[in-house]
Symmetry: D2
Subunit: 359 residues, 4 copies
Amino acid sequence: MLGYAFMGKAHSNALKKIAYMTWPPPLEPKLVGIAGRNKEAVEEAARRYGYEYATDEWRRLVDDESIGLFDNGGPNALHGEPTIAAARAGKHVICEKPLGRDANESWEIWQAVAETGVKHMCAFNYRFVPAVRLAREIVEAGELGEIRHFRARYLQDWGDDASLDTWRFSADAAGSGALGDLMAHVVDVARFLNGEPATVHGFTHTFLPGREVDDAAEAAVVFHNGSVGTLEATRFAHGRRNSLQWELNGTKGSLAFDVERMNELQVFRADGDRARGFKTVLVSEADHPFWEHWWPPGHIIGWGETFVHELHHLLDAIANDKDVAPYGATFEDGYRAAEICDAIARSGESGEREQVIYR
Amino acid sequence: MLGYAFMGKAHSNALKKIAYMTWPPPLEPKLVGIAGRNKEAVEEAARRYGYEYATDEWRRLVDDESIGLFDNGGPNALHGEPTIAAARAGKHVICEKPLGRDANESWEIWQAVAETGVKHMCAFNYRFVPAVRLAREIVEAGELGEIRHFRARYLQDWGDDASLDTWRFSADAAGSGALGDLMAHVVDVARFLNGEPATVHGFTHTFLPGREVDDAAEAAVVFHNGSVGTLEATRFAHGRRNSLQWELNGTKGSLAFDVERMNELQVFRADGDRARGFKTVLVSEADHPFWEHWWPPGHIIGWGETFVHELHHLLDAIANDKDVAPYGATFEDGYRAAEICDAIARSGESGEREQVIYR
Amino acid sequence: MLGYAFMGKAHSNALKKIAYMTWPPPLEPKLVGIAGRNKEAVEEAARRYGYEYATDEWRRLVDDESIGLFDNGGPNALHGEPTIAAARAGKHVICEKPLGRDANESWEIWQAVAETGVKHMCAFNYRFVPAVRLAREIVEAGELGEIRHFRARYLQDWGDDASLDTWRFSADAAGSGALGDLMAHVVDVARFLNGEPATVHGFTHTFLPGREVDDAAEAAVVFHNGSVGTLEATRFAHGRRNSLQWELNGTKGSLAFDVERMNELQVFRADGDRARGFKTVLVSEADHPFWEHWWPPGHIIGWGETFVHELHHLLDAIANDKDVAPYGATFEDGYRAAEICDAIARSGESGEREQVIYR
Amino acid sequence: MLGYAFMGKAHSNALKKIAYMTWPPPLEPKLVGIAGRNKEAVEEAARRYGYEYATDEWRRLVDDESIGLFDNGGPNALHGEPTIAAARAGKHVICEKPLGRDANESWEIWQAVAETGVKHMCAFNYRFVPAVRLAREIVEAGELGEIRHFRARYLQDWGDDASLDTWRFSADAAGSGALGDLMAHVVDVARFLNGEPATVHGFTHTFLPGREVDDAAEAAVVFHNGSVGTLEATRFAHGRRNSLQWELNGTKGSLAFDVERMNELQVFRADGDRARGFKTVLVSEADHPFWEHWWPPGHIIGWGETFVHELHHLLDAIANDKDVAPYGATFEDGYRAAEICDAIARSGESGEREQVIYR
């Protein structure tokens, strides 16, 4: 594990729970080593989560032959080199999003890792919300018909504070602001549910003078399947603490979602029922995605559980030599999300509609 | 009254209710004449609403010296000529939105009518929803601080039917589709609550082959006050029957609204209360806008009542020689909304960010 | 019309709208006379609503042979004598709820009026909310199966003010407090949707010292159809302005409703759909109850419109000699509601489960 | 641990998470032994959760001197004897609710255990929902003023199936049905937030012929603090999967909650704000109860986490010799809940209002 803060905690928790909540587990995770820059903090994290050792030198993890999976939850600037090194050392890898600080870096990480033949996963954990996977299954089954619209926005509200000091506001450490942090999730869920975007028209925006990264991003979008919509990401929406909202409209029905109520999926079926309307589906039934691991219906799960599903998916891919795609995001997906984010930023600079073109 | 269908019914109902629900009324409306192309239907409408006569020739209304207010609820193609003629005949005028079929026509109507010195109103009725007016008052009082975001969308779902025959799908009769019908409302509420947009990046889109007008419009927007957001309008969102949603985020709080729950305003105050969150405000208190006309708190009103407020506002302006602006929309507002809509369409054609420039 | 305040306004508005919103109307209402104790106020009301004359002596209305329908919207203590006199004078009658100040008075009013053979209606207007009628139709069609539960509560919040001076707090003028004012609505909707209660266990309660009437009522209930539930009414629920909520659970599905969102019905079908949940049905479709009078789908109506439906129903019964029951409430329904309310009060006094027994 | 099914899983998960999610933990749980009747199943549970051994004889746990905490998650009939034996062997004990199968058995368990001087906790886990604890803190701080109403209901929908075979339908194994399973939670949250009930009027009800236990319970209630309300529990409410709803109305404000949206608390303050209404508070801020263990604001937690908080509370009480009460429920609370449930059942049998009297 590289990183011991927010993502280090989320991933460590998941790895520990897989051993007994997903039963029998595809592989039983053993927490070997954890790396971080602050020696004292990383040592406490090792004690806390049960890693065998802590180190302030991530290369020790790369060199440790007993390690089979390298989990990178560090800041964006530390995604590339350690992940590539770990893959070259034959370890499977999972890396937090955004994969790189821009599309170029993301592409290079993907290419370098893909060459090694290891399993790779980009940690777009919202694919592993039961309601989001159920949505994907509904779309795949054709229950919405032809898709007309996809619209999404990821709203948070902690950015309007010039005194906040975090690597997330550093251009060098983060690459971008709301774009890589939030819009990357928006475009990944867009691709997951609705396929590839063809063009974007929009921009990024920075509200606070002197801030190095963008605070918000806005775009109109056309998808290859003919659907259209808007995409938004911001850290300046008071009252929206962690609100990733999306909606799909098809010729046969609609779906809507908000991660602040992540156990619920809104489902509309144009089925001619006289009593028609959006259903609030509590996604917690025995036949719902991922629910075999949890509780009786109606006993909801939390945001942290998305990582249990995600890492379980990866361990299953490793143990049984399955593909991470299409339900999990690979480094290719990480690159593609970055390409779309970059196209939005380019559109803002050029003032023109930008094609989304993958190398 | 010109027109006897949807808008003719809505306006006639309002004119009849003003006489006793807004007490004492600024002026007591007398329903003189109603015009429409279908002689039989317009005669029935006259009997139904109590107009003294019906006619299939709108010029008769223009020539009728007993008429003081000309209310144009006809199809878009009939907005210009009759309204201008009525104004030139010295009558005050109210015209349904969109004012003209495009910005040019709207500008010409505005100019011609403004020259005559009569009162003119463009019927953007959502300004007269109590919750929308309350929002305006909250913004004007500075309670949201500096505005960071405005986002809005008007979603309907009746357009996905190639067999539907209505003037709203005719390029000649309507000018545009979702753009003039729905996006015009979106941009008017944007201007009403957040001021003038500076640039738009987006496009209009037609889903059905052979349809003459647009089915949807999508845009990213920058406002002169420095706020940014997205704008959308569509007739292809299954399950959204008449859903005009908007949200404002400021440095001190946020507001959100959906016209399907038009009696409610969502209010967030960044006031440091440990128990913070969006309030669902039932806008029906004695000290809430327009509520002096209605019922005890909690006894909600309907969509039709917005026209009561709107026409009451106009009659008050006429009776007491007040300005229709800023709480009511004038023909200038009608023109400005059209200019923004046209800029979105131009952006789609040029692929470029378009400035919103008023003549 | 007897009464010119809250109910006088609501009924007068409805009578005026029927003439053109329900087209063609079964009868065209002509507003003849309005009576009230305050001579100045009732004269203003006559001017306002267009009554031909005002009077401070209700017997003038009874004696007026040109009057065919007597509408009693006065205080509870004035329900009996004028209504009976009007019926004996051959006029059809509608009387606000509660019919009398207790079950005995209600029974006497019903009996005296029934003897005359005129049409009679007790103004339980919530039967005329489109969502409530739709619920009734769903229940009647057997779509919920066998009913297991009915629970309802009517919550308001204006009672916690000892300085308020209104006839509603007078034992003599009102008979009871929340019981007759709010619980009467609860039990009428219970009977309308779920049939007759068999037993009640509960009580009434007065919070403020010196208040003559009850502030709240609480009960557990068993229905003849085997379903059970709770019933509640209060004027002491801060934040609930006018919230009549009810829920039905059957063997095949459930319905839920809140009059603060009166255009919506919550519908659950136990149909085995993998995506199951309560639908938020916006009751505004062309094939929904009462909607032929109104607007396109999604354009909601207000609380005042329930009276349009109610009085239209009565005029239709008069014009075409139809029964007011079962969709409208008769004086028998007014009596039965009072009997149930009295049983709750008796249960509180006796401490025992009380049978609901109609004379 | 006694029991390996639903509650065994929930408690084992919590004990494992405490070691690293609540950091530093008050005590580091070591999973020693797990007992259950099905030898194969309990052995698999031991492997799954990491218990050192499995046994089909719970006395082995009692006799094991290395065990300091006995956690009883078995069926109701197995609550008494093993728990008492464990306490007498000097082990601290936690027992699932209902404590006993009726008030008498609950009282005996409490008395026997209290005599030993060990720490004891009855697992009313909903006290450990952050929103419920926040509600308690708001009430304790007097922010609601004097309480007027408490109403609650626990609705589930799995009971309407005569073919279901579970110990929960056995009178001998369970003692009661919805009463002990669901109403016990209702009355515990009632006592936690609003204090002791004085009288109940109501009944239990069984819908299915031949079912040994009650399917639902209904009651009207008076509390010692002068507030009144209704209480309900049922397994027959289609569409309500796990819906524990409660509402408090006070002289200064109101609170409302539904465990299906357990991260949200509805808060109304009668503070004279022109924009007043219920706030939807996402209880996930750094200064909210229990949140120091979790994620950034807006990243919600699940039902399973309530057990982490609960067992953390107990371990803290053990480690630091603190009282379990008042924030945690003791066996006395378990007994009191049973006494209230029994009073509801008695009321149904006697047809009379029953006093709640604790021995």
